[in-house]
Amino acid sequence: MINMRLKFIKGRETKYISHLDLLRTFQRALRRAHIPMAYSGGFNPHPEMSFASALGVGLTSMGEYLDIGVNEEISGEDVIMRLNAVLPVGLRVENAVVLKEKPRSGMALVSHARYNIYLRFEKDIDIEDCLRSFLAQDNILAVKQQPKKDFKTIEIDIKPMIREIKALSQGGGEVVLDCVLSSGSKANLKPELMLQALKKQIGDIFEDEKIERIDLYSDMEGELTPLLLIDNA
């Protein structure tokens, strides 16, 4: 089996498609594209494919990753061209690379995600100042629901999961926050939870207009590396 990693865009038209539905959508698109998929063994064989990370419903993304296994050599360019011809509007493969043998899975690699969060404030504020005081807290507490525990709530400190937040632009009450948050199996911070904590600190004075994931990274000895660049052949 040859492993490949695809980086794709999940746009506005597909932002409401859940993780499971997206998997099925890709399975069918891969069939239409005649990508020579490898199949798992066992009683119920399924095509070898997995996403690096689940994206929240309603979010768009410029950097999602899908790992696939194929059983014939096929170039990245070919995969891009063939898939994009048969993907529904709102999904687009940006890049595809062949991985080295026995690569680490995207899912295992991902440690951080970058988001751009588009906020609209009721009035002009000094966002830099807000962020400084927000990040200067000893603990940044947020209340999280636990779906697996009957939606019981728990208060957690999210500060260790915020790697970076900065304001990209400001004007007319609109602010774009560029942030890097923990993502993956070890620690995971949803941008919505971060916003909840921010509201607690500076008041309920903004609406989030749009949240877009920009890319997924792996922490390689302190250096954040985009998944696309790891374990390439």
Binding site: Y16, D21, Q27, R31, R32, P88
Partner: protein
């Protein structure tokens, strides 16, 4: 429409609803057209949820048939789920078509497919939500024409005040003829009424306002007569003579979200020759017409290529009756095995031959098998002409158990004509005999964990069946039968399911209802009835209130035995199968005489006289 409303719906409303994927409209193979050059806009409405509607083959066919016409833009509309509906009402957003998100009140046609009676309140609700006047009589120049087709259109009367015209029978040819009449009418800038007159000349089109119904003192119908010159006294349904030449799309929409039937549906034939007397589909879809293996293979090829689906399901009323089933199955299997495309065979009468085929098809999965003896005693099975014996059933179930199956479902009806408690007990007895057969398989050879599911639905007499004159069993009697079976089947290894008789009563009312029921429908809707087919939304009390408010007794329609000579509400509709044949079948039923499968010898149902030159093979 203001562009911002479309964005508002998409970006602001959808995050607040359950399963926003229902309302996206950009699924693979969905059709989006620029409005330039579009002459006719058609809203194809399915009066139920997206998941149910997207599983319907007829809609897939007609959607692409219409969109293949350059100047027609056909879009889909489903009943918004109540959470979406309440948001729409709160924010004053009208019912929109999925593809363009334009309001359907501005379309030329709003067309509903009538698949089951209990979706009727959703039609009223959708019209209201769309801002289209609910009654035919309230619609004015510039309003869309509200049309309907589908199996329930064969008794169109309960919806006759709501629907401007019905299209009876198979739509592949008729739909385009209606569109052509509309083009001509539109060019000439004629009046609304004039279009209805023109379209009533298309064969299979029924315009209810062109017919007057008069009543006898006992509330039965005295006569149904055209009130306009040139309108046919009897409206004949449409049939496609040669299915191999009929339109079939080479692509189908692939939904993002999970729907009920999410696979390629390959329609292998239409009609059924078995002649089960309770079965409306078996009568109204006659005659039997098969697609050839070559044609089916070519359709499958195109659909596999364009959809990417991983499963093909053979679709028909009785899969095992397809004359070249093994040839077709083998051909599809050998072609698609390497691509790991599965084949499923629903509606298959299980016997040793079909089991062998199933084994080949479903190589690994030993999922449950379904059998439909329909009645518990041989006497009653003869009455309904279900030509299956106890021996047949035990042999087939036994063959399945021998192969390691341990999960079987048995479907029955209660409340069938002439049924006694003895027949009902026969259902449980049959269950126990099936259980016994399972234990005859040596322990080390049989599948583990026997589970026999017995389901009983409540019989609903339907128009155009030999039982159309029969009363439905009353609710108390059906409950008593259900309780009795519950008691008898309280044993490990059995699961007993039953249908709500209240819902079945309403089905019986609307299945054989007349024009006077339109107002009940509107009243029920006013009282909050919608999604009646969904347990969690069904409001029986509100329905009873609606009948009372309108001074109409549901029992008159559901529980009354009709005289053979009574003018039935659908007597001006001709489905090909004659009243004479239905009467003779009814008489035979009451005597417990069976009728042969008409593949072996013509039983003279009349369908062959529907079209010049005959339609049966």
């Amino acid at each position: 429409m203001d562009l911002n409303i479309k964005d508002y719906i998409y970006d602001k409303l959808l995050p607040k609803v359950e399963r926003p994927g229902r309302y996206i409209g950009t699924e693979w193979n969905s059709i989006h057209k620029a409005l330039e050059g579009i002459n006719i806009r058609f809203a194809f409405c399915f009066p139920d949820s997206y998941e149910v509607g997207m599983s319907h083959l007829g809609m897939k066919i007609l959607y692409h048939l219409l969109n293949d016409q350059k100047d027609i833009y056909c879009e889909r509309v489903f009943a918004p789920w109540p959470d979406m509906e309440s948001l729409m009402r709160k924010e004053d957003i009208k019912l929109f078509a999925l593809e363009s998100r334009d309001y359907i009140q501005d379309f030329d046609f709003v067309g509903f497919t009538l698949q089951y009676e209990m979706s009727y309140t959703n039609i009223i609700n959708m019209l209201d939500l769309a801002g289209v006047p609910k009654l035919t009589s309230q619609r004015r120049e510039g309003d869309p024409f509200v049309v309907a087709g589908g199996p329930c259109a064969y008794n169109p009367e309960p919806l006759s005040q709501v629907i401007d015209f019905f299209m009876l029978g198979e739509g592949e040819e008729q739909m385009l003829e209606v569109m052509e009449v509309y083009r001509q009418w539109k060019v000439k800038g004629m009046k609304r009424e004039e279009f209805l007159e023109l379209v009533s000349k298309v064969r299979g089109v029924y315009v209810p306002s062109f017919y007057d119904v008069s009543y006898n003192e006992d509330n039965t119908i005295k006569s149904i007569m055209p009130n306009k010159e040139g309108v046919p006294e009897k409206v004949k349904k449409r049939v496609i003579k040669d299915l191999n030449k009929a339109y079939f799309p080479d692509k189908i929409i692939v939904p993002f979200i999970d729907v009920v039937h999410d696979r390629i549906m390959l329609e292998i034939f239409r009609g059924c020759t078995r002649g089960c007397r309770f079965c409306q589909a078996g009568m109204i879809y006659r005659p039997v017409r098969e697609r050839t293996v070559e044609e089916l293979f070519s359709i499958a090829e195109k659909l596999v290529e364009s959809s990417g689906y991983e499963e093909i399901s053979l679709s028909s009323l009785s899969t095992g009756d397809y004359s070249k089933l093994s040839e077709l199955a083998e051909k599809l299997l050998s072609e698609y095995e390497k691509d790991r495309i599965g084949l499923s065979l629903p509606s298959l009468r299980i016997d040793s031959i079909s089991l062998k085929l199933l084994q080949e098809v479903q190589k690994v999965r030993k999922t449950g098998l379904t059998f439909a003896p329909e009645a518990g005693s041989q006497r009653l099975r003869d009455v309904i002409n279900k030509n299956v014996t106890e021996e047949d059933l035990i042999n087939s179930v036994g063959a399945a158990f021998d192969l390691g199956y341990s999960n079987v479902k048995l479907y029955f009806m209660i409340g069938l004509p002439t049924e006694t408690m003895e027949d009902v007990e026969g259902i449980a007895d049959l269950g126990y005999k099936v259980m016994e057969r399972y234990y005859q398989v040596p322990k080390n050879q049989r599948g583990k964990g026997i589970n026999i599911t017995i389901s009983t639905s409540c019989f609903v007499p339907k128009p155009f069946t030999p039982f159309q004159w029969e009363p439905q069993d009353n609710i108390e009697a059906m409950r008593e039968k259900q309780k009795h079976l519950q008691k008898m089947l309280r044993k490990k290894g059995f699961t007993y399911n039953w249908h709500d008789p209240n819902l079945s009563l309403l089905e019986a009312v609307f299945a054989r209802g007349d024009r006077r029921l339109s107002k009940v429908l509107i009243r029920a809707w006013e009282l909050g009835c919608k999604f009646d087919g969904w347990d969690e939304h069904f409001k029986y009390e509100a329905w009873l209130q609606a009948f009372e408010d309108c001074g109409i007794e549901p029992e008159f329609y559901a529980l009354r035995k009709r005289e053979l000579e009574e003018v039935l509400p659908w007597s001006h509709i001709d489905v090909g199968v004659t009243k004479k044949y239905l009467k003779s079948e009814y008489r035979k039923a009451l005597k417990g005489e069976t009728t042969r499968d008409c593949r072996t010898v013509c039983t003279g149902c009349g369908i062959n006289l529907l079209e010049e030159g005959g339609v049966c093979k």
